[in-house]
């Protein structure tokens, strides 16, 4: 009996010894030289693996950072971590960061249940992509929000939710990392990554309808009709296909109020300045 125990300890121990020796030499011989900084950078990253930076995941991004020189490093940016994370990575690598304005996703549609009432009953599956293939949507606007929440499903940060009163998604400013998943998913292309603006003050056209004015208004009370009034306030604003577009460069502080006042349909939205207390309240 003792023999068996002793024998098995010796045999197994021997195998373990031989295997460990082999493994030691193989690991010495076949060691992969990995930049030690990669692991350090990876620790700094948010580990969301969202792919918003254009790389396959956080590890891939860390490898790219470690391999970059001062010039190519400036092209790398983690939208989720933002400037603070990029600052830390730059400090680690000894590069300079160029300050990037913080951004967030903006829904360019205000086709709520009230502004654009439903004309049909949709009883298909909850998928904007399917609904867009079947018809122009409940409201009839061929460019508007379908209110079925494909964007909510795809958001990894829980920043999007459908407002039960209005039916359209709302962006949680605190949670949005501007990763751009919603931009890619929305079959109507309603999301845009825009700068957050000073104190959260942004101005944009909350409409993507390219129909002529009368047709657009038939389906939605707050549709852009391409009347060009906004272009008179700031010449940087362009109107194409009966639809106005306010570039990010147009200052909300300076023009916001005037633009909202000038827009006859209320398609232009200015979020207004937010005091720190308001922000905390949100």
């Amino acid at each position: 009996m003792e023999n068996i125990i002793l024998l098995s300890i010796l045999v197994l121990g021997g195998i373990a010894l031989i295997a460990s020796v082999i493994l030691y030499f193989v690991s010495q011989k076949c060691a992969v030289e990995e930049d030690t900084r990669v692991a350090e950078i990876e620790n700094l990253l948010p580990q969301a693996n969202c792919g918003a930076c254009g790389k396959a995941g956080c590890h891939d991004f860390a490898v790219a950072c470690a391999a970059a020189d001062a010039k190519t490093f400036s092209n790398l940016f983690c939208p989720v971590g933002g400037a603070s994370v990029m600052g830390k990575i730059a400090a680690l690598l000894g590069y300079q960061t160029t300050a990037k304005e913080p951004t967030l996703a903006v829904l360019r549609c205000n086709g709520t249940c009230q502004n654009a009432p439903a004309k049909i009953i949709y009883d298909g599956i909850d998928s904007c992509r399917i609904a867009a293939g079947i018809s122009s949507g409940q409201s009839g606007c061929p460019n508007g929000c379908l209110r079925l929440g494909d964007c909510v499903k795809v958001c990894k940060f829980g920043a999007l939710s459908i407002n039960p009163q209005t039916g359209i998604p709302v962006v949680d400013e605190e949670k949005c990392t501007s990763c751009g998943a919603c931009v890619k998913t929305c079959p109507r292309g309603l999301f845009e990554i825009r700068p957050r603006g000073r104190d959260g003050n942004r101005v944009y056209v909350a409409c993507r309808n390219t129909q002529k004015g009368a047709l657009a208004r038939k389906n939605c009370a707050v549709a852009c009709i391409g009347c060009m009034k906004c272009t008179k306030i700031n010449p940087e604003i362009t109107v194409a296909d009966n639809l106005s577009y306010i570039p990010a460069g147009v200052s909300a502080d300076q023009y916001g109020e005037a633009l909202v006042k000038a827009c006859p349909t209320g398609a232009i939205v200015c979020t207004g300045k937010q005091t720190p207390e308001e922000k905390a309240h949100d």
Binding site: I120, I125, S127, G133, S135, S136, P142, K153
Partner: protein, 440 residues
């Protein structure tokens, strides 16, 4: 009695609801205004040749085929062009349409309007194809693939069979059935014309057994025409599908991603064949078609001969209007048709029916959970596993559905029809298809 031919796998037997089988085709008359879309086919929209204010006659060319996969569009009425602009179509999306105010009924002089049947075909194959192209004929079964391309045999392919599709397996629809009864000889001659264009002597008119009247007339006629035969098939949905019909009639399989021509077959709808007859021997472009207006909420169901561009609401009015209990209006058949967003949308070359369904038929039962009964696998005529595609789509694993070949789905809806848990399997397959196509 020998067993009737049908396709190998899958298929269902929905209620027929063929209310209008014995209603003769009646002329729908002329509406005040028609809107004619410039894209009524697969491929590029046609190039518009007319301008606002132009006077047109019935049969005037309005838009010219733009490219090879495209088709001519002709005026279906005489009158003045009011506007050419983007107009709301049947899905609520804007489509380019030509709006014409109807003034009288003045036909182009080149069209032979007599009812005499012409039996001689004094044209060569090339001339026939050219005439089909000039007449703007597209597959009238619903796909809208331009007929001249289908009739031009690709190089190094040999066509053995021309199959004329008279199956009409969708419930409610009787447009093809009535056409076969009333225009039997025209269809047989049309088949001869296509035979000549393809250089074969083997046209098979496939009709299913629930159309005894059409079978009887066509069988009698085909005896006096060499190269045209009638094949009676068992009734099963979706036998009218191109690949299913080829399998039913010839026993051949069209491989995944291949065309019927690869299996040596060409399939044409009876409506298309009648249009070919009229185009080649009567010089009449394709500007009218037979439309069944039916449904359980329709007061006076009927089969109409309708000019392309007639608003659907005009036909609905003729049949007693939208009734209180109409829950859904469908363009096409109830299985594969589309729920209409806008009932003022025009009838196109592809509209086979307009159905008014009551809540009883339109109602969707709430979806339950899959019980793995595999009924969807049993009925899928393509041999897919719809429940697996559905599971993966619900889990958000769209890329992984590729293994289950949703791209081969013909969207017949057998799976959703048969599912005891009322799962929207067809929607899931469509979603997977759309996603895979987008990524490709």
């Amino acid at each position: 009695m020998t067993k009737l031919k049908t396709f190998r796998i899958g298929g269902i037997h929905p209620n027929k609801y063929k209310i209008t089988t014995d209603s003769p085709i009646i002329d729908a008359g002329l509406p005040d205004i028609v809107t004619i879309p410039v894209k009524q086919h697969i491929g590029a929209p046609a190039k518009i040749l007319v301008q606002k204010g132009d006077k047109v006659k019935v049969g005037t060319l309005l838009a010219d085929a733009d490219g090879i996969v495209s088709s001519d569009v002709h005026s279906s009425v005489s009158g003045e062009i009011l506007k050419i602009e983007e107009t709301e179509g049947e899905f609520g999306y804007l489509e380019k349409m030509i709006t014409i105010k109807v003034e009288g009924d003045d036909w182009a002089p080149s069209i032979n309007r007599s009812d005499d049947i012409i039996r001689e075909i004094p044209f060569s194959a090339e001339e026939i194809i050219a005439k089909i192209r000039e007449a703007g004929i597209v597959g009238m079964g619903g796909a809208g693939y331009p007929t001249p391309i289908k009739t031009t045999i690709p190089e190094n392919r040999k066509i053995d069979f021309l199959i004329i599709n008279g199956i009409e397996c969708e419930p409610f629809l009787t447009a093809d059935d009535r056409l076969m009864v009333e225009k039997a000889e025209q269809i047989v001659i049309g088949a001869k014309i296509l035979n000549k264009a393809l250089g074969i002597q083997n046209a098979i008119i496939a009709v299913d057994e629930n159309k005894p009247h059409a079978v009887e007339i066509l069988s009698r006629l085909s005896k006096s025409y060499i190269g045209v035969n009638v094949q009676v098939c068992a009734t099963k949905y979706p036998q009218g599908g191109e690949k299913q019909l080829i399998n039913a009639v010839t026993g051949r399989e069209v491989p995944s991603g291949k065309l019927p021509a690869d299996a040596g077959c060409i399939v044409q709808n009876v409506g298309t064949v009648n249009a070919v007859y009229e185009a080649v021997l009567k010089n009449k472009p394709l500007f009218e078609r037979i439309v069944t207006v039916s449904g359980d909420a329709c007061l006076h169901p009927a089969n109409f001969r309708v000019r392309v561009g007639t608003p659907a609401s005009f036909l609905i009015e003729k049949c007693g209007g939208l009734t209180e209990n109409t829950a859904q209006v469908i363009f096409g058949g109830p299985m594969m048709g589309t729920s209409a967003f806008n009932i003022n949308a025009p009838v196109t070359k592809l509209t086979s029916g307009i159905l008014l369904l009551s809540d009883k038929l339109a109602h969707k039962a709430p979806a339950g959970d899959c019980i793995r009964c595999a009924k969807c696998v049993e009925v899928c005529p393509v041999g897919l596993q719809p429940f697996m595609i559905g599971r993966l789509v619900r889990a958000g694993m769209l890329e992984e559905t590729r293994e289950f070949h949703p791209l081969d789905c013909i969207e017949c809806g057998c799976c959703a029809f048969t599912c005891p848990a009322h799962l929207p399997l067809l929607d899931y397959c469509k979603l997977a298809k759309a996603e895979l196509k987008r990524k490709k």
